[in-house]
């Protein structure tokens, strides 16, 4: 009886060992990272004629995924849903070029800043002479909140739009007299409208002088640390410089 029991125990141990050894040989399936992009936001993220994601943030996202050796897939959304999607963990990383604010930092994790953003007043008239102007802003952006706060004092009518290209359309179609735009969108606007008498001047507000960083799911601190290490790596090995030169004539970080 005793011999039988020992035999069973031995077989069970052998089975467990063989099972664990077999599983140890199997390569663990790498996790696929979900990267969130801002819809229709050239030159940072948009779709080309073939429907593929292109832009500075897309290239940067791919570089980071390569650096941390994880496959990634992109999703796009509008500005109003960005923080909610990241904070709820529906996506892992927000490649949105979000300006770091204390309010946002309470909801999501931010990596070390990787570039600096400016906010421009784009109009035919200087900001100081813009009373009763209709001012277009992207809905949910910090520019939107800033415009709302200052509209009463300046006498503006705030015109929220859903995506950056609508800023250009609102100026071109006369639905707005001015736009308050982040630097990347300002470049696109001025590319199209600089010859139509529009002028862009940076708004010197401390609120807009915060740097831009990558937002991360707040439950994934380890991923944030990995991204910081990857950012440091691509900053020093020249890869970030190469995508900088691809999209901008000046250094943006």
């Amino acid at each position: 009886m005793k011999k039988k029991t020992w035999g069973l125990v031995l077989w069970a141990a052998l089975f467990c060992f063989a099972h664990s050894a077999a599983h140890a040989d199997e390569p663990s399936k790498p996790r696929t990272l979900k990267l969130l992009l801002l819809k229709d936001n050239p030159p940072l993220s948009h779709r080309d004629a073939g429907g593929k994601f292109v832009g500075f943030n897309v290239d940067l996202g791919r570089l980071l995924c390569d650096a941390i050796k994880m496959p990634c897939e992109f999703q796009e959304t509008e500005h109003t849903k960005v923080i909610e999607m990241i904070s709820k963990g529906e996506v892992d990383i927000g490649m949105i070029s979000l300006i770091v604010t204390p309010e946002r930092a309470r909801q999501v994790l931010f990596t070390e800043p990787y570039r600096i953003s400016k906010t421009f007043w784009i109009s035919r008239v200087p900001m100081g002479q813009s009373a009763k102007a209709r001012v277009a802003v992207v809905n949910g952006s910090i520019q939107h909140k800033w415009a709302e706060r200052n509209s009463a004092q300046q006498g503006w009518t705030v015109v929220p739009v859903s995506v950056n290209p609508e800023l250009i359309r609102s100026l071109r179609d006369g639905k707005a007299d001015a736009v308050i735009s982040p630097s990347s969108a300002a470049l696109e606007i001025m590319k199209e409208l600089s010859h139509s008498g529009f002028n862009a001047r940076p708004i010197e507000s401390q609120e807009f002088n915060n740097p831009v960083a990558i937002a991360v799911n707040p439950a994934d601190k380890a991923l944030c640390d990995q991204l910081n290490a990857a950012l440091k790596q691509i900053k020093t090995n020249g890869q970030l410089d190469s995508i900088n030169s691809k999209y901008f004539s000046f250094r943006v970080f």
Binding site: I116, A186, N199, F248, S249, F250, R251, F253
Partner: protein, 418 residues
Amino acid sequence: MRHRKWHGLWLAYLSAGFCVLVFTVLSTGILGLQQRILGLTNETREVLVPQFLEQIRAVRNLEMLAHYGGLAAKAEDSAVRQEAAFLAAFAAANPGNLSDEQTRQLASSAYQLIQSIAARERDPAEWAAMEKALSSRADQVAVSIGQVVTQRATNIRDDSLTVRNLAIALAVLFALSMGMMLVLGRFLMVRIKVKSELFNEASHDFRQRLHGLQLLINTAKRSRAARDGGNVLSSFEATTNDLQRYLENLLEIARLDAVAIRPLIRKVVLQEVFQRLELQFQDAASHHGVDIKFRHTRLWCMTDENMLLRILENLIANAMKFARSRVLVAARLRGDQVEVCVIDNGPGMPEFNRRSLYKAFVQGGGAAQQAGLGFGLGLSIVMRLAGLLSAPVNIGTKEGHGSMVRVRFDRPSDVPPG
């Protein structure tokens, strides 16, 4: 003369101490410098390289500012001028330009001037001075990168050279120390050789004279004149015999300590050894009134037969001296080893004496009080011989309950018993 001899030895000690001190100082210095080099290289990778890259980006943006300023100053088309001013805002806002206050202020002033010139609020001719200042600052930043790199490379090279020099000094000192040790070793060997020769000659002379004395005593005992003083002569003979045994033991210890003896290991059949010892100790046992028994054995072991004999001779002689009535010699198999035991029913030894038993001239507690029972050299010889044979010795004793000495010898299983 004695003073001079000690002077030489102290000099050797001092030299060795000095070498150890210098070795320690040099090694600590090398380790410290290597740590510094490691720190410098790590700092170069972690801090300086990102700093260099940032400065390079600042230089590029200063050049872009100069370019946009030139456009704003020269372009007739106001749209071109406004676009140049717009792009200048980006070049002036780069974090690289924030790396030092002077560059940041210059970039900011340049941007303000570009804005004013683009709006034709200021004279475009003013741009030339600003362009010069931008170029000059770009040159300074670029050159400063080179200077920092050169300084860092110089620091690392200097430290590396010092490490190399220290390593050479360490190697030279090591060679010198080895040379000194060789010379000292040679010197000591010569002195030991001279001493051994002197000792051999002295012991030979001493033995000869002692032998002569024993012959004289024998002759005196046989002569008629000695009949009256026979007891005195017998005591004199016993004392002389003791002195001879003492001398033999002492000389053996001296020989074991001074000369490098190599045991001749071969297969030894224990029963043959026991038979020889039984014959050897028959008379002594009856003289001491002790019943000595050798338990029959078929065991064998791998050892030096002569040394085994000397070990057992000493142990049996010791046991016989202290035994009340019985001494037993036996062999037992213990795994891959053979254990040879010598057991007596003597007074045993107190606990405190056990450790000191291995030293020469030390006896067990009961023995010390018994005059004429040896000189405490037997166990000392046993320990030295057992040490040469790598045979562990174990002494089991309890005051009033006798003693048991066990010596273990190898008995490898791959040697055929036949």
